[in-house]
Symmetry: C2
C-alpha cells in the first residue's frame, strides 16, 4: 500500500508505548476490515511529526478481497489524516528493504518575517533571510556515493553509512524554500541533518565548500543541527526497474 | 492590521452566539495587550472555515504603543492559527469600505482520484477529472463590470450587485487547480458560487459560453452550487493608489 499521512498528530510510524502511531492505526483498521489480525511493516519508519505522501506499508493476509480494492475499503475507515493512495498484491517474500529503490524526501522552510498560519503544520518557519544560491551550491557536494556518518543520528543502527544521493536541490518559490533529496537510501535523521546544515550555509554561518569537509569528517558533530520534524515530507518510494 | 488565519477551527470572522470567531479572538487579546476595550472591524467578514492570508482589521485605541509594534506584541498572545502580518496607524476616519481597493481571492481544488492528507484543510477535494481549459474559458466571461446577482447568496444585503472583476483565471499545477479572482469587490459567497459554477463547466455539465447567460439571468438559481468553504482563501486587500 502507498500511504499518505499528515504526521502532526502522530508519534511517528512505529508502534510506541506512549501515543498513537500510523502503524497502529493501519493495523487496527486493516484487522477490522479483513477479519484477521494484520501487522503491517513500513518502508520508512518516519519520526514523530514527519509527513508522507508516499510511504509503503506491506503485510500478509489470507483475504480474498481483491488487492486493489483494499485501499478504497480501508479509506472508508481511516481518519482523514491518513489516506491509502493505492494497494496491490506483491510476492510472498517481497520486502522494500530487499529491493533497489529510489526514495524522494522534501524539506520545506517558510522563510519570511512573519509566520503564515496556512502552512504552519507543513513547513519549518525560519525568520532570517536565507541565501538559496549558497544552499544549492552546498547541496551539490552531497550528490553521489558518500559515507554519510556526519549526517546520521548517533542513534543509527546500520552496517554501512554509505548511501548514493542522485540529486539534492534547493529552490525558492516565494517565501517557501524546498530542499529536495533523491537517493537509494537515507540514514536515521539524514534529511533533517542535511536541512539543518544547509540552513547554516543559507545564513552564512558556514561556507558551501565546508560541506565537503563535513562529509569527510565522518562525525555527527561536524554537521549542523537536526531541523524540526514538521518540515519533512516523504514524497515517494519507487522500486527500481 | 493585516491578518492571516487558518479558518478551520473558527466560525468565521464575525462574532457569533455559538462558537469562537476571529474577531472575538482579536478583541480579547488586543484588549488585554492594550489595557482598554478594543473592538475590531474587518474588511471582509469571511465565513466559517474560510482562510485568509491578508484580511484587514482596524480599530480605535488610545494606546501610546507604536502602531507597527502592535503586530509583534499581539502575535505573542495569539493562537498559532492566527498571525498578524503587519500593523500601521491610519487616519481616524479611515475605513476599508470607504476607499477604493483591490481584493484577491483564490479557490483551490484538489483534483485527483485520492484525497491527500497534507492539503485536506486548504483545498476542496473533487474526484472527477476537471477540464481546466474549459473552466478558464468560462472564467473570462466574468471579467469586467457586471451585475453579479446570479453569483451572490440570496442572503446578500447590498444596494448594488454591480462589481468589477479585473481578472479571473483557472490554472492547474499537478493535482491542484487554482481559481484566482481579482476585483474591486465581492458579494456574499460570490467566489464560492463562481467556483461551484466553474466546476460544472470543468466536468462538462455546462458549456463555458453558458456563463454569459447565467450573468444575464440575474438569478441565483441560474448559477452552480456554492462550493465548500475550505477551498477559499482571501489572499490580499490593497488600497488603490
Amino acid at each position: 500500500m502507498v500511504v499518505a499521512y499528515d504526521g502532526t498528530n502522530y508519534c511517528g510510524w512505529q508502534i510506541q508505548p506512549n501515543g498513537i502511531t500510523i502503524e497502529e492505526v493501519l493495523n487496527t483498521h486493516l484487522s477490522q476490515l479483513l477479519g484477521e489480525e494484520i501487522v503491517v511493516k513500513g518502508a520508512s519508519r518516519t519520526d514523530s511529526g514527519v509527513h508522507s505522501m508516499g510511504n509503503i506499508a506491506f503485510f500478509d493476509t489470507d483475504t480474498r478481497m481483491a488487492a486493489d480494492k483494499i485501499s478504497f475499503a480501508l479509506n472508508q475507515r481511516l481518519p482523514e489524516d491518513i489516506v491509502v493512495q493505492s494497494s496491490e498484491q506483491v510476492d510472498d517474500d517481497w520486502n522494500p528493504h530487499n529491493v533497489n529503490s529510489t526514495k524522494v524526501y522534501e524539506y520545506r522552510i517558510r522563510n519570511s518575517k512573519m509566520r503564515m498560519p496556512l502552512d504552519r503544520l507543513y513547513t519549518y518557519f525560519y525568520h532570517y533571510d536565507l541565501d538559496v544560491e549558497a544552499m544549492d551550491k552546498a547541496a551539490k557536494y552531497l550528490v553521489g556515493e558518500h559515507d554519510f556518518t556526519s549526517f546520521a543520528s548517533v542513534k543509527s543502527q546500520v552496517n554501512s553509512f554509505v548511501r548514493n544521493l542522485y540529486d539534492v536541490s534547493v529552490v525558492r518559490n516565494g517565501d517557501i524554500i524546498t530542499i529536495r533529496c533523491e537517493g537509494n537510501g537515507f540514514l536515521y535523521n539524514m534529511v533533517r541533518i542535511i536541512a539543518g546544515t544547509l540552513i547554516q550555509v543559507g545564513c552564512h554561518k558556514i561556507e558551501p565548500e565546508k560541506v565537503k569537509e563535513i562529509l569527510d569528517a565522518r562525525d555527527r558533530e561536524a554537521a549542523g543541527p537536526t531541523a524540526p520534524a514538521e518540515g519533512l515530507v516523504m514524497i515517494s518510494w519507487t522500486e527500481d526497474c
